[in-house]
């Protein structure tokens, strides 16, 4: 996707399609698609941290949950304004920076980074779970333990108008596009190129003079901030936050979205997140097969048969079609280089 005309036309196409959707489907479907889009922001954040930065985070839901709780607590205390949105990104980013400082400057190996993040999110899950009772409150916001925080004040448009179902959908799509463009921009900068280089070969990056720990810390914190933004939107979507968003299931789902979509791509995890959630909803409407069972099969198929993921697979199709039409042998077909895929 290095053709700028193609990039811009694809972006315009996505925007037009997204803004047309509410005119053609029921409010319930718009509501569902809104949460898919919010989760796509979360998926995008892990695609950046893990797929581009090579930092294996098994407990990415920690930042999502912190963002949601930070927004909810701030919204209850200060009202649902820009302060609450800023805090929903700042709190998880700061938490990621603190955690990352000990992990990356402590030169903890990749697998342990994954395990530590998983442990952290489970600790947060248990911590929030154990805050039932009126004594657990921050300012005037009760944390609520297992019941979570209900009736979270939601955002309004700058003119003070209430954001309705369609408005929440548009806002989510807008934030997804902004997050995607921000990450694309970041990856095109010197710092972003180093982020990808570290994923490819940490030792070589270090021998060329790049501060690997610092770069990882920045990547991890940015990913935390974007996951926090998704958490903020999730709190706005349901007007509720509960400790299950820190849970193992939530963390596992994000990993599945990225693996199925394709590590090293940004579009893939967005598409796979939306597709898998849609599939989960559809499967949830029937009683024949268990949703988790089907998700497990999908993941296994992708890991075994399409290890590079959905986006690289889709990227190959035009080349294969072109080669068939031109009658070229398969070996001559450039099937989309990893570098190109990495820019997707």
């Amino acid at each position: 996707m290095k053709n700028p005309v193609l990039n811009i036309s694809s972006l315009v196409g996505v925007i037009v399609l997204a803004f047309a959707i509410p005119y053609f489907v029921e409010a319930f479907t718009v509501l569902n698609f809104t949460v898919y889009i919010i989760m796509a922001i979360l998926s995008l954040s892990l695609a950046f941290v893990w797929g581009m930065g090579g930092i294996m985070v098994l407990g990415h839901s920690a930042f999502f949950g912190l963002g949601a709780y930070a927004y909810a607590i701030a919204a209850v205390n200060f009202g649902p304004g820009w302060e609450a949105v800023t805090l929903s990104m700042l709190v998880p980013a700061t938490f990621a920076a603190l955690l990352g400082y000990f992990m990356f400057y402590g030169r903890i190996s990749d697998i342990y980074v994954g395990v530590i993040t998983l442990a952290v999110t489970l600790i947060l899950f248990n911590l929030i779970n154990s805050t039932s009772g009126p004594q657990y409150k921050i300012g005037s916001a009760p944390i609520g333990g297992y019941n979570g925080i209900t009736a979270v004040p939601t955002l309004s448009w700058p003119n003070g108008n209430f954001i309705d179902i369609n408005g929440m959908f548009y806002l989510s799509v807008g934030l997804l596009i902004l997050s995607y463009l921000f990450i694309r921009y970041y990856l095109s900068t010197r710092y972003g190129k180093v982020t990808v280089a570290i994923r490819e070969n940490e030792r070589r990056a270090e021998l060329l003079g790049y501060n690997v720990a610092q770069s990882k810390l920045i990547t991890f914190s940015i990913g935390g901030a974007i996951a926090g933004l998704a958490g903020c939107m999730f709190a706005n979507w349901g007007s509720f936050v509960g400790p299950t968003i820190f849970g193992l299931v939530q963390s596992a789902q994000i990993i599945i979205w990225v693996i199925v979509g394709g590590r090293g791509t940004l579009i893939g995890p967005i598409l796979s997140c939306i597709a898998i959630q849609w599939m989960t909803t559809q499967l949830g409407m029937q009683q024949v097969v268990n949703v988790g069972f089907v998700l497990g099969i999908v993941l296994t198929i992708f890991v075994l048969l399409v290890p590079s993921g959905l986006a690289p697979l889709l990227a190959k199709i035009p080349n294969v079609v072109r080669s068939r039409l031109n009658g070229k042998p398969k070996e001559d077909v450039a099937l989309g280089s990893p570098a190109e895929e990495g820019q997707t």
Binding site: E200, N201, L207, N211, A339
Partner: protein, 243 residues
């Protein structure tokens, strides 16, 4: 900096448990010098490089670079001071293109259009202009070695440590590699570790011989080739090839 010394080690050593991988090495490299390091397998050459580049921390002695001790600096800090390393096994950004690999090296010292122009120049020097967009993992072994040497050329360090730059290459590729090394030497002081005695002979510069973690000889190729200690430690097994 007396006598134009750019890099010096004094009593440098490292032990892994009871094994003295490098012991009491006094080594001097002068500005613009091209030095070859040879020695049998396990002599400590690569470990010595790792000490110089900060990948290992010395247990004894010190490394003095441009008149100042390096202390316990991290590898990236040492690289920023101007010490570039080509590792024994090609170590590249495998999923990135040749251009991107060189750009990352050039960006450390230069920026913007200057970096791009240096990358273009480097691509020409390593004869990989046609592979500029090729992903490194798709390159042949020799070309991969050249990309890593290209990273050294593009980052223009003051000292370049090249560990087996011609390993696994054909004769013609080795000759091209010597050309690249000579180009690096035009801007940097260079230390080359190599097993191939023909290659060392073709470079034709001063040679330091390692054995069991120690420097056992130092001199021209002729001098070390006729040194009985060296012949016993290393050349004994390669004598036919040298002759």
């Amino acid at each position: 900096m007396s006598d134009n010394i750019i890099l010096q080690t004094k009593g440098l050593g490292i032990s892994f448990g009871g094994l003295h991988a490098v012991r009491d090495v006094d080594f001097v490299l002068r500005g613009g010098e091209l030095r070859c390091l040879i020695g049998p397998n396990g002599a400590g050459k690569t470990t010595f490089f790792r000490l110089l580049s900060g990948q290992h921390t010395p247990t004894r002695g010190e490394i003095i670079y441009k008149g100042k001790p390096l202390g316990n600096l991290q590898p990236y800090q040492i690289a920023r001071l101007g010490i570039g390393v080509k590792t024994q096994v090609p170590s590249l950004f495998e999923g990135l293109s040749v251009f991107e690999n060189l750009e990352l090296a050039a960006n450390q010292t230069f920026s913007g259009l200057e970096a791009v122009s240096i990358v273009d120049e480097t691509l020409e020097r390593i004869s990989l202009q046609d592979q500029r967009h090729t992903i490194c993992q798709e390159l042949a072994h020799g070309q991969r070695q050249w990309v890593e040497l290209g990273q050294i050329l593009a980052s223009k360090p003051d000292v370049a440590l090249l560990d087996e730059p011609a390993a696994g290459m054909t004769h013609d590729e080795s000759l091209k590699t010597i050309e690249i090394i000579k180009e690096i030497t035009a801007k940097s002081s260079v230390v080359v570790v190599e097993h191939d005695m023909d290659f060392i002979k073709l470079i034709g510069e001063r040679v330091t011989v390692f054995d069991r973690g120690e420097v056992i000889a130092d001199g021209t190729f002729k001098e070390i080739a006729s040194n009985p200690q060296v012949r016993e430690a290393y050349l004994g097994r390669k004598e036919a090839a040298v002759a």
